[in-house]
Amino acid sequence: MASFKPTQIPDLPKLGEKITEDTLYWKNYKAPVQIKEFGAVSNIDFSPVSPHNFAVTAFTRIHIYGPFSQEPVKTFTRFKDTAYCGRFRSDGQLLVAGCEDSVVRLYDVGGKAALRMYKGHTKAVHVADFTTGRYQILTASDDYTCRLWDIPNAVELTAYQEHTDYVRCGVTSKLNRDLFITGSYDHTLRVFDSRTEKSVMTMDHGQPVESLLLYPSEGLLVSAGGRYVKVWDLLKGGQPLVSLKNHHKTVTCLALNSSGQRLLSASLDRHVKVYNTTNYKVVHNFDYAAAILSLGLAPDDESIVVGMTNSILSIKHRKNLEEPKETSKPRRRPSYRVFMKGKNFVPKQDDYFVSKPARQHLAKYDKQLKRFNVSKALDTALEAWLRRKKPEVTVAVIKELDRRGTLKNALAGRDEEQLSRLLCFVIGNFFDTRFTPVLATTAEIVLDIYQCVIGQSAVIDRHLIHLQKLLEKEIYYQKDLMEILGMLDTMFAFSLLRKETAVAGLPECHTAAANVEIFKIVFEQSTCLYT
């Protein structure tokens, strides 16, 4: 006599991304706070001193927000034209900003009017930063020059005219007061030492450089331009280390998390990607609503601030780890004696040990299935906690009933309340791909059985109409997806055909690359549609 084999609960893997420590870490943010700015948010800079306010440069204004405020703490509005690159000094007291009108302005964080104005550039200044020496300012402009200014005297100290196109990004070394690096649209990165006349190192990025980032150790430099993010080893004389191509539009800004273990890059393709800095693999991905222009990460990763072209500033705050959990008092368990009764008996030497047959423990629904009580088994499986916490168990029981050929019997003869509970479950889990096949049969049988009584109960009717709407929506999605698949198939077929016929290597490569491009766009659209 074989023992009863309990219902198998399949351990179906959830589709989608795998849960890693990184996803857990980067998912642990609250829903974003969204603030409407006056124009595209071009720069975000965090104050290095507590309470870590951040300056948001958007259109002709610079707003300073507190760490948790939704309203700006302070506003600088005295710009004639679009402001660029509002940055704090290392002590958090001063703020410098470039402007479309080629004037660089220096502000006291507490004041309103500009303390100093630095005039000398002939075109818009997109880069302005303090050097580590605290008394000099680095600026770089669309007139292809970068200059160093003395803060108190507002005098230009040096001007470098090596770039041959707009200079749109620059970074000063935190360890050496004389060192700074600029990136330009002429595809080059140049390392300057203010003690020398010329640049000390030049690297070719290959695309117009949009953003630069120095590692805290300053041995590595990260540059972003075009769709590429490149890492350079400065200690090896600017040798390229890695080239990352994970975005499909221009990468606009870079950030490093507080531990220096993860690199973040934001792009016009609306994604922020998080890389592991040891193997440069993407470990996480954030989606945003519009093309991203600026990105800021608060110290200790307390918040992620993203500025977009549609002039929305999105702030995500980290969830508090020690949230007070409202746990009920643990239920009092039976005492120690109850469990230890008879367990501590030590057999004597001559005792003959009679083993008690182990009783097979069955779940409640299994016990009912064993007795062929199919309706009761389904009722048990549809109990509130089971269907909410473990829908896979409920679905497994339904599947088992279907396998036994008794699903129809189990579903029949239900009153309004039971039926609405069942329909709720079906509607709630219908589009979980793990459960769809089973629930589709269930819904079909339910409709078959109860079609003669449709219209007698308002609750059931409402559920059915809801189900119908959901189905229509799903069919619409599926149709779109099929269309996209069709498009992809034609494209792939085209590229394959070319590959087989083409003799020369180069042109076909281009077409293949182009196809991949188109594929990515289409894929983007499809994911957009689906979510």
């Binding site: 074989a2 009863f4 084999k5 309990p6 420590e21 299935l369 088992e400 396998r403 036994r404 096949p437």
Partner: protein
Amino acid sequence: MVEYGDIRVVYRGGSKINFRKPVISNDSRFLLCASGESVKVFSSVTEECVHELRGHTGQVTGVLLRPSNHLQVYSCSTDGTVRLWDFTDGILVRTYVVGYPVYSIYASLNHKEVVFIVTPVCVFVFAELFQLVAVNLPQTPDQLVEARDLSAVLSDVSSNPSTIAFGRGGEYLASVNNLKMEIYFFKKNKSYSFSLREYTKNGGKNTFTCIACHPKDDCVATGHDDGKIRLWRNFKQKKEYTYSTLHWHHSAVSSLCFTPEGTNLLSGGVESVLVQWRYNQENQKDFLPRLGAAITHVTVSPDGALFSTSHSDNKITIIQSCVKVSAVIQGLVKGENVTTGLLVDPRSKALVLNGRPGHLQFYSLQRDKLLFHLDIVQQEYIHEAGLEQFEVVRAAFDASGLWLATVEERKQKSAELELNLKLWSFDEQTQSFVLNTTVSAPHEARITAMCFSQAADSQTTTLVSASRDGHFKAWQLGLPAHTDGTQEWPSWSCDFVGAYHGLVPRCCCFSADGSLLAVGFQEVVTVWNPTSWELLTTLSQPPGDVRNLCFGQLSCSKYLLGSNNKKMVCCWNLLTCSLEWSTSMDVSLLLVDSRSENMAAFCCQDGSTDLFVFKPSEPRPLFSQKAVCSGRVIHAVFTPREVMLESSEESSQWLNRSQLYFLTEFMDLLTFSTKAEEEKLMASSKQLVIDDTVAMTPFYLLLGKHRHEHLGNEESAERTPLPQSSVAIKELLQTPAHVLPATSFLCSMFAKSLLISVTETSFMNSLSVLSAVAVKL
């Protein structure tokens, strides 16, 4: 059987043991059942086969304890003989020649030396009419007796043995057939018949299926097609009979049986539940559920201590007093179709095929014993006719026997196909297979073929499955994942999906070293590189879809052979990618021996099958045999031999390293055996007979030498008769215990009887032996 030189086809193992009701001996120690052309005697405790009573030349159709001597048993067969055996020693006592095929046998205590047999009415076997005939068995001491004294008792009976039963110690005889029950009283020499309507008011089918008579009471129980049991009483009159109905079974009752005291009625059916009804308190019943498969026969031992149930999966279960299964005798399970084909487990060298529903069975060919069942589906099997449940349809072993892949399938009428691919790893600790990965819905349509990469030394094994959805998929074991803290077992995942112009792949095959994969897409054979998954070349020989593919082995490994459904066998040379040779042959099965270069091809022609054994490199076949068996051969396999044969004859050399087993349309498992092998077998059995009285103890080794010397000296030295046959002992053993005198009285008598009268010479012999021993010591 067909003879060819010194090679002949022989039946191998796995005959049905559930064909007829088994018989339990009076002391409940033995269970006898008809099995093919012999009667097998099993020990009811250890489940071992103690004796095999061979002698019949046709299928044994019934076994019956001799009512007058409980140590003897009758067996009847379709060869027209009834044989009497002493089953404790396995000796044929007497053969009665009836002359007609016998389909079942009955006897009762009331009728001394008469057995009742069921034979066809006319001599033609194909006639559907049967009659019950009483046979007087003549009491002569001869071995072979003609028993021609026949007298018909009932005509128009069923050939099914469970439709006839003796009632009340042989006072009357009841028989059912279709819708009619007939009860024949021997004293009155009169029979009454009762018939039922075909359908009841509720639409239940009334056809009789089986019958049992109460041993003490005038009561007959009948089972019906709709699951009802009727208890008939007062049937001595034609008019005033009554019956009551018991209904628990939901489908046909296949067997009924009263316990010897008549207190309980046992019934069984498709549900595989043994139901025990209390006689006269029929609302009280006990159940023994989940016996594994549909019950075909229920029997009770004469003392009522043991029940035994035969099941449709070729199994006999022995049950102690309706509560505990004490032993299971399992034969080779042969379902309607063996979808997995025949496989050989590389580790245990056992034959692996479909067993019980949802199981794989491992069958040891050497010991002709079922080793174990591996539960593949792991779901409760619902015993209900017409219910589609998961079935194992494909299985494959890798070269080392470390991995087993199985495919299970469930096809519903309305819904889509459900497929599961499961991968099992061999666990050294438990010595069995443990589930590693389950892939639900690995393909969108039925899987047509599945094979493992056969390279034994490679680190990563690859599994390839081909399906009707036009794809083949390669599955590979992932690397062990070391996530922090918890080490997960590596699992299998899909590595590559291949297709060729939307054609349907029918077969796939790896080369011996695992460097090439051949997949047959209808009429095109594609050859792939399993490491890079590149399509290397395509071979085709239209028209005709490729049915079988196999790579040559060892020195012939440059050849790829394929057979198609347009009666062609092609051999391609893989070095030149060209056709080496092709021949017109309707090959239904092509297989390769992994131990040698040989290949075997089964060709179906005019309702029988021919076998060709050949090397791909040689034009002439090594061995060919016309009409190996009737009907098609559906599966075949080469199994490696444990000990190599040293046959020098050319025609039998191909059997030196491995054996060829094949399964015919009619589910017969056959093999080839050589003359040398049979002689060896005979010799070993003779050896056994000589040596069975003397144990091989050190003392024997010392003493035996001397005895042999003496044997050489004196031809007339005879073995002293064993004292079992002495009169005193027989008296002692056969007298019931309560009439025996005191033991002290018996003791001296018993001791005397054990004394053997010693002749002078033998006394001298023993003296000399003893003195020799003393000298040696």
